[in-house]
Amino acid sequence: MLTIDPKSPVPPFEQLRLQFIEQVRGGELAAGAKLPTVRRLADDLGLAPNTVARCYRELERDGFIETRGRNGSFVSAQGDPAEQQAQAAARAYADRIGQLGVSRADALRWVTAALGAGS
């Protein structure tokens, strides 16, 4: 969730950037998650599209997100190469679970069991 407080002394651009970074680092925004379009987020938060675009550019420069042409902006995998691959695999698993219509609880149970069996 993103919150922009117009009364805050922190500029909206900075509020937005910091919240995105916090969510990517905290895992709330997982690697591969799609971000809203610049125009949509600007409309939702009552900001100028340029403010959101600038925020996305800086996040991309810092390696938090990546832009895939017309497909939009996505959260980049974070950490060392092993962690990045693990995040990509987790994303692929989550996407497949979504396609199969399997419940979140079952998906978590199976992946936990698989991790237990592998250790």
Binding site: M1, D5, P6, Q23
Partner: protein
């Protein structure tokens, strides 16, 4: 049109007009909002009560007006002889017309509504992108496409089996065309609804906006589902009627299978609680306290709109 069809048409029309009138009564709007809140197990803060009720009622009004206009035009077409049909099947056309109108009216109401948040208040937005798949369960979204494909196949089957029989071909083709058009309307309108911005001043507003979006998208999918089901039952029955011997038995078995499939799908849909589907997708960790009214919020003026 025969007497029974007139009676049904007038009865449905009167019910719709009463429903339209009731939708302007504030108490009814609030009751519907709290009914939704109870079903979704989602708190409705009192400052959002009016805005949520107003949007729900605008959607209901749109659907009823659409149903009245399209249904009324169809009754006019039948009564003046502009459309010729077997009196026993006219009522099926009318029901199909009412569903089509309901879909169109709901779409228009959903796409024309606007909401604003005062510029001095904090704004809240989701950090991830949402899609149509987040608002409607696959059983309904994919199911609509499947049943529309089936009704088109049945219409083609009827055209091959009885190319000269207008009594069989016209109704099935009309239902198939209406189902395809309403599916197209659903696809376009639901995409536009999901792409529209969601100005919100709190998590509760965002959750309720999602609830209303989900509800509208589910209303929109009803038209292609209902029309395709009608067309399929009608077409398969017509094919069975046209056939003789083993082919007729196969036709009636086919009709039985269609009806059984429908019953199973309906049951599966009810068991999976599709109205709460968006919560599991978009708000999996939502707690009652996230949308419950805080003391400070309760004291704030109710100037915002969902």
């Amino acid at each position: 049109m025969d007497g029974a069809t007139w009676f049904i048409s007038i009865f449905v029309g009167v019910i719709a007009v009463i429903g339209l009138g009731v939708s302007f009564v504030p108490v009814y709007g609030r009751w519907r909002a709290y009914q939704q809140s109870s079903y979704l197990r989602l708190d409705l803060p009192s400052r959002l009560e009016r805005a949520v009720a107003s949007r729900l009622m605008a959607r209901e009004r749109g659907g009823i007006i659409g149903a009245l206009v399209v249904g009324g035009a169809t009754v006019l077409a039948f009564s003046t002889g502009a459309i010729d049909s077997d009196p026993s099947t006219t009522v099926l056309f009318l029901i199909g017309a009412v569903f089509s109108g309901l879909g169109v009216g709901t779409a228009v109401a959903a796409l024309t509504g606007k909401k604003q948040v005062p510029s001095d208040r904090p704004r809240v937005a989701r950090s991830g992108a949402a899609s149509i798949a987040d608002y409607i369960a696959p059983i309904e979204r994919v199911g609509a496409r499947v049943v529309v494909a089936i009704v088109v196949a049945v219409a083609v089957g009827v055209a091959i089996a009885a190319p000269g029989s207008a009594r069989m071909l016209v109704p099935t083709t009309l239902f198939a065309v209406a189902a395809v058009l309403s599916l197209a309307l659903f696809e376009v309108a639901s995409r536009r609804i999901v792409e529209a911005s969601q100005p919100a001043g709190s998590t509760a507003e965002l959750v309720w906006d999602d609830a209303i979006r989900s509800s509208v998208i589910r209303d929109l999918v009803t038209a292609p589902l209902a029309l395709a089901v009608y067309g399929t039952v009608f077409g398969v029955a017509a094919l069975a009627e046209q056939s003789i011997g083993a082919a007729a038995v196969a036709g009636y078995v086919g009709m039985g299978l269609v009806l059984a499939g429908l019953a199973v799908t309906l049951l599966a849909s009810l068991v999976s609680r599709p109205r709460r589907y968006f919560l599991t997708r978009l708000w999996p960790n939502l707690r009652w306290s996230d949308t419950a009214e805080s003391t400070a919020e309760a004291a704030a003026p109710a100037a915002d709109a969902v």
